[in-house]
């Protein structure tokens, strides 16, 4: 065990910090990722990152990355959040689809999809949930029927984040119409401007149209857009879900930055804070620390050849409920100011609190995650 950064790792941090300090400030205070104007501004940040070759530092150089290890990935993320850099408009692509294509894609698919992703050229959204398949994802009904070297897709997906602004989607489709549940599903990618695709934005809790329904009406998609074998989609999707719940999607840096802001907010409002709130603030800081430490352990384990199993579900429960606690504490500190939106800029704590309510729902609800923990880690009967 060695809990200090090497001189090379520190030099890397210095390099990232210098770049962020030169480039991130003009991207501060962007509009939310959940509206067209904000999304476009975030895409501009993706391209800015790509211009410095920072699109996805852990990917091999041949796909637009830098071939760096997970420790450097964590350092990179820490410096992004330290600099107040924007969120990643292409998070569904780079954090979820990217690792999936890396693991299951053919060399042609890797070259075709990964490089434009790292360069911020193509923005991705997910197409998993359906009106009848939410937590019960194996109930997917949208069909992709083979027709020569194409699939004909018919059906409906929903809750697809940023589908109204994205270029492509990836998801699970039923390629064997006779199949049931987890069998007969395939993992397919397609451009949202394919004839027969229509996207209907849904207004979210905060008022913006962050997610959308996607309708498929005899949409022709070439067979080479399928990742892995026909009928193997469920296993591929589970791997993607593992990336989502595990290391990649929610960096500890995000919560450590929020915990720091919460401590500062507490100091500024200590005289009017409720008696129990001081402990809540300390608990949030300690939990953000614990999440960061745990992530460094997971990174070390993966680098030594380990895999994340059902622990990824514990991760997802932990960060999503920590995020809600952090923002709830801030709302309490703000008291009667909590509801107000300023004339310019945003009430970050209010927006953050609203967004934090989605964390325990998306990427598999926390109830489902708790079932997974109980069944796969503790061996309780299904």
């Amino acid at each position: 065990m060695h809990l200090a950064f090497t001189p090379e790792q520190q030099a890397f941090r210095t390099e990232v910090r210098a770049w962020m300090e030169a480039h991130a400030p003009k991207f501060r205070d962007l509009k939310t990722l959940e509206c067209k104007e904000g999304f476009d501004a975030h895409v501009a940040w993706e391209r800015e990152l790509a211009s410095g070759n920072w699109g996805m530092v852990t990917w091999p150089e041949e796909y637009g990355g830098r071939g760096l290890d997970l420790i450097r990935w964590l350092i990179f993320e820490e410096e992004c959040y330290r600099a107040g850099a924007p969120l990643r408009a292409n998070q569904n692509g780079i954090f979820l689809l990217g690792p999936t294509v890396m693991e299951y894609g053919t060399p042609e698919q890797r070259a075709r999809f990964l490089t434009p992703m790292a360069k911020g050229e193509i923005m991705w959204c997910q197409a998993w949930s359906e009106p009848g398949a939410g937590s019960d994802m194996a109930a997917i009904r949208t069909k992709a029927i083979r027709d020569g070297d194409h699939y004909l897709i018919t059906g409906q997906k929903t809750w697809s984040s940023r589908a109204a602004f994205a270029d492509w989607c990836f998801g699970l489709f039923r390629t064997d119409p006779e199949s049931k549940r987890h069998k007969g599903l395939s993992f397919i990618l397609l451009p949202l401007n394919t004839p027969g695709v229509s996207v209907r934005p849904i207004r979210q809790l905060h008022g913006d149209t962050g997610f959308a329904e996607i309708f498929f009406d005899d949409v022709r998609v070439p067979v080479e857009n399928r990742i892995a074998a026909e009928g193997e989609g469920w296993n591929v999707a589970m791997a993607t879900a593992g990336f989502e719940r595990g290391l990649m999607l929610r960096s500890p840096a995000r919560f450590q930055a929020a915990a720091k802001r919460l401590v500062e907010l507490y100091r500024a409002n200590a005289d009017r804070a409720a008696p129990g709130l001081r402990e809540t603030v300390l608990k949030c800081w300690m939990d953000a620390e614990a999440y960061a430490l745990n992530t460094y352990m997971v990174a070390a384990s993966i680098q030594a050849g380990g895999k994340i199993g059902a622990e990824a579900s514990l991760n997802k429960i932990f960060w999503s409920e920590l995020d809600r606690s952090l923002h709830r504490a801030a709302m309490s500190l703000l008291g009667s100011h909590a509801e107000l939106r300023p004339q310019t800029g945003a009430n970050e704590w209010l927006d953050g609190y609203i967004f934090s309510l989605s964390g325990p729902i998306y990427a598999g609800s926390n109830e489902i995650q708790r079932n997974i923990v109980a069944e796969r880690m503790l061996g309780l009967p299904r």
Partner: protein, 334 residues
């Protein structure tokens, strides 16, 4: 940066776990409870494993290992509910002697012939005072002491005595070593209570199925698993920084002890609930671990004490906060 244990460290941990699973089953606890006192056979087994000398330098007859190994094994002591004074004497007194340059007891500690009891102002009791060769009090080792007056602990396997005229003092190194060891045992106790509750939920049937098939039970137990999973990394970090005497080690120990205590208390209350009325009996083994958890949560700085130390650094102090501050080792000067 490499936050993981070596294969050797994990093998040692597994070896101790396997030994304790065979040699120290719950029946042993029941026998101890019935007979009172301590069992020389248990102590001899621990000596054969070399555990009393784990932290004693090799030149003094020990294994010369670090607080990382001690903390891994401390978790195992908590899992098995070992009540012999091993944690106090081997994982607190021995490294304390090494740090203070008190060399005269090291060989006796390593061979298991000597145990040292610990006094400190933070506790109103001294554990295992009657069988100890000496007692660490106010940065000294005393060989003579007043006749021990035994106290009643809720934990029937703890042997506590009044500190009486002993002046404990407030040695911070003793406190941090002992708080770390307590945190390790709390994590182990929590793990074991979770396993007991999960095992019970798999076999106890109601409404024609194991109660563990009900989501209410699953979610209770998943919450315990969550608390334990995120109590471990702070524990390992505290062991690492305290072993190296880094400036932030006391803060890290406090973070670890709060998380471990919270996990153990949640595990205890949840395990009782999952066991139903059986959990409220003396017959089910669970209560030994629950009572040990209660005791260790209060020992060597209770939750309030440790939370206050975190508070003094985080809200009231100058600790650097934020994403790039996770692995700083020294606090800056104000």
């Amino acid at each position: 940066m490499e936050f993981r244990f070596s294969e050797d460290q994990l093998r040692l941990r597994d070896h101790v776990r396997d030994y304790l699973a065979k040699a120290h089953p719950p029946e042993r606890l029941r026998a101890l409870d019935a007979a009172g006192g301590r069992d020389n056979a248990i102590w001899s087994g621990l000596v054969e494993l070399g555990l009393p000398g784990l932290l004693v330098p090799e030149s003094n007859g020990g294994l010369g290992l670090t607080l990382l190994e001690a903390t891994l094994i401390g978790v195992e002591l908590g899992r098995a509910n070992v009540s012999e004074p091993l944690a106090d004497t081997a994982f607190v007194a021995a490294p304390w002697c090494v740090r203070k340059g008190e060399k005269s007891y090291l060989e006796g500690l390593a061979s298991g012939d000597v145990t040292l009891a610990l006094t400190h102002d933070i506790n109103p009791w001294v554990a295992d005072l009657d069988t100890a060769k000496g007692v660490i009090a106010h940065e000294e080792i005393l060989l003579t002491r007043p006749a021990p007056k035994q106290l009643n602990s809720v934990d029937p396997l703890r042997r506590l005595f009044a500190s009486g005229e002993l002046d404990g003092g407030d040695d911070p190194i003793l406190l941090d070593l002992a708080a770390l060891t307590s945190a390790a045992q709390l994590v182990g106790a929590a793990e074991r209570m979770l396993e007991m509750a999960a095992d019970y939920a798999k076999t106890r049937e109601q409404f024609g199925q194991p109660i563990g098939a009900f989501q209410a039970i699953k979610h209770h137990l998943a919450n315990v698993a969550l608390a334990i999973e995120f109590a471990r990394p702070p524990l390992w970090r505290a062991a690492y920084t305290l072993d190296r005497g880094q400036g932030l080690a006391p803060l890290h120990v406090s973070v670890a002890k709060v998380a471990a205590g919270d996990a153990a208390l949640l595990a205890a209350e949840t395990a009782i609930q999952v066991h139903g009325a059986m959990g409220y009996t003396y017959e089910v083994d669970l209560h030994y671990w629950m009572k040990r958890a209660w005791a260790l949560i209060g020992a060597w700085g209770d939750r309030t004490f440790h939370l206050k130390r975190v508070d003094d650094a985080v809200i009231g102090g100058t600790l650097p906060l934020g994403p790039d501050a996770t692995f700083i080792s020294e606090a800056p000067h104000a």
